[in-house]
């Protein structure tokens, strides 16, 4: 089945430093979504990327989808303590066939921000 690899598993940064997490797939993805899970919380949708080479920004967060649609990244500029949590990429299965929109999650990157 579809697999999505995410690195690093952990990232500890000082407040104000940048942070990046990477997501890779061996197969071409139809799209990719990013979620944030605060400690003890549930995944919350951040963004969806669909087009090859797409770049989207949300304030200090920049999301990229690779040209080959096999990788994606999330970059946070000047981290704040409120950025603490686990960031997951999730691949949406291709439409049609037997899939009904299941998400295949990466392992997640746990971000710790030291004040």
């Amino acid at each position: 089945g579809q697999q999505v690899m995410q690195i690093p598993q952990y990232q500890h940064v000082q407040e104000g430093e940048d942070f990046t997490t990477y997501c890779n797939s061996s197969t071409t993805l139809s799209n990719i979504q990013w979620y944030k899970q605060r400690p003890g919380g549930h995944p919350v949708f951040l963004i969806q990327l669909v087009k090859s080479g797409e770049v989207k920004k949300q304030k200090r967060l920049t999301f990229q989808f690779g040209e080959a649609k096999k990788n994606s990244s999330l970059h946070i500029t000047a981290t704040q303590t409120t950025d603490v949590g686990t960031y997951f990429c999730a691949a949406l299965a291709n439409a049609g066939g037997t899939s009904y929109g299941k998400l295949t999650f990466g392992q997640g990157t746990i971000l710790t921000v030291h004040p």
């Binding site: 799209n31 979504q33 919380g41 549930h42 995944p43 919350v44 949708f45 969806q48 669909v50 997951f88 999730a90 949406l92 439409a95 037997t98 899939s99 009904y100 929109g101 299941k102 998400l103 295949t104 999650f105 990466g106 392992q107 997640g108």
Partner: protein, 113 residues
Amino acid sequence: EPEVTQTPSHQVTQMGQEVILRCVPISNHLYFYWYRQILGQKVEFLVSFYNNEISEKSEIFDDQFSVERPDGSNFTLKIRSTKLEDSAMYFCARRQGYWTEAFFGQGTRLTVV
């Protein structure tokens, strides 16, 4: 963010007992899912439910698991005979359309002792 309410928030059960986890999603959403997350690990797909029937299930979703939407609103996950390894956070999720985002409930923490 539209609400997805899950009950209970925490369930402790003895091994071999049956548990029912409940979810109340927005009624006009078409796609419903159950995911689970073992402590410290990634979120894993269990089952999808579309048009009031199971549309896809993972290898984890064996004969011990079942889902229902008995009254057209509540969406339940039943584990017939719980095992220690069923201990996890179980999330209900729903989406309005295929290409839209998934909204997750707050989860039910299941502890099997």
